[in-house]
């Protein structure tokens, strides 16, 4: 998994490529913890995300909780397979998917 990070004033866009699973989720969590400061708009671009496990979903959930306090969060370019997992798990009700 690779994370591409782009910051534009208070807006942070993270583009995730590859698999977000139990072995890679901690890396994303670290990246997030280091960058939350001053972010009011967090965007996850998932166009190149191939797979997400429960560990990855938990990172998104905790990011959502953090952003609820300091701004907003959006998930964009969600592919069909990832969307199916969001639907099955009920994440479509929690995340702002655009």
């Amino acid at each position: 998994m690779t994370i591409e990070s782009k910051k534009d004033a208070g807006k942070l866009t993270l583009t995730i490529t590859g698999r977000l699973d139990t072995s890679t989720a901690p890396k994303l969590e670290e990246e997030l913890k280091a960058s939350y400061d001053g972010v009011t708009e967090l965007v996850f671009d998932l166009a190149k995300l191939e797979y997400i496990s429960s560990a990855g979903l938990r990172v998104l959930l905790s990011a959502q909780k953090t952003m609820n306090k300091q701004g907003s969060m959006k998930v964009i370019n969600v592919g069909e397979e990832i969307m199916e997992i969001f639907e099955i798990t009920g994440f479509t009700d929690i995340l702002n998917i655009g």
């Binding site: 429960s54 099955i88 798990t89």
Partner: protein, 388 residues
Amino acid sequence: MYQIKGKIDTTNAAEFEKHLMAAKPAVIDASELEYISSAELRVLLKLAKAVGDVTINNVSNEVYEIFEVTGFTEILNVSKRLKEINIDNAVLLGAGANGRAYRLDDERIVKVYNKISNPPEKIRREQESARRAFVHGVPSAIPFELVTVGDELGMIYELVDANTLGSVVHNAPEKLREYALTEKLREYALRMSDLMKKLHSTEMEKDTMPDARMTLRLWADIAAKSDYYSEEDMQRVYDLIDSIPVRNTFIHGDYYPGNIMVQNDELILIDMGDASVGHPVIDLLGTYHLLSLTPKKNPDVAMRYLGMTAEEAVRMWDILIRDYLGTDNDKAVADLEESLISFALIRSLGGIVFSDVIPEEKRRYFSALIMKDLLGSIEKADMIIKAV
């Protein structure tokens, strides 16, 4: 079982209506229904008005979509036809009293439920609870979907490729034995306590999960049905259960090292069958029972269900409960444990009735002892309720 099948249109709708309204079924099987017309929907609406609650099972994906688009899923209890899974080539991961688990591929397992102890509504409740827990951030496996496996029901879960917490603590290399018994055990006991505190402060939406006292009532019901206990004593047990305050926070219901996996250093809970909401004492009583009371009384069985020795289990409980209660005062901890005993023994009252390790002639004798201990500490029961 009332079945609807084939194709209903304007030419035979009248006949279908006559037949259906004469039978007035509350449950309809749609396993052979591939299409549904507006004429048929109208008749079903009429039936719903006449009968009240109408359930339609085994609906195909296509027909379900029509129900959904037309808003009928709000009027009728519609449930989808389940996918069939073949496990001939799947590797058996483990088997327990409730069923078996098979590995389907690198990412998924299927848990197949024994029919006798698992009515469909219990499995659906587990699915619902597992989903709710997951979206509230409870570290657990993704519950994917309900399926059929032969004539049994199964649930596809995400594969948690890891060892149980019990075996992680127990199976340290020989030269690290001392370390494992001290530092590692301590670390995991504290992490178990942390996770428990997190679970017990996770608020669920109102009326979306079962009341955790239900499990205790089931144990008490089993006890009451036997002739081991007097009605007056059982009444005191039921009163004790009713005295547990209602809360809307998460309860796992079977929180012990055999149900906690260590995956990439993250603790993941498995087995959501008893997930519910309620007062923390209901989780604590189970953990106390399995980590302390049972290993002390029956050291030989600890390895079998905990993956760790009785000595390790008892030490783990002691560290966990001190951290959870936030006290290191020996007297305070001993008092609170005694207060927990009444609650913990409710499980034993029912458990001994059909125990397969204790011969029948001894069960009556033991059951009297359990009831005596339970009633003996019932005066103190209030302490733990107030402390957590």
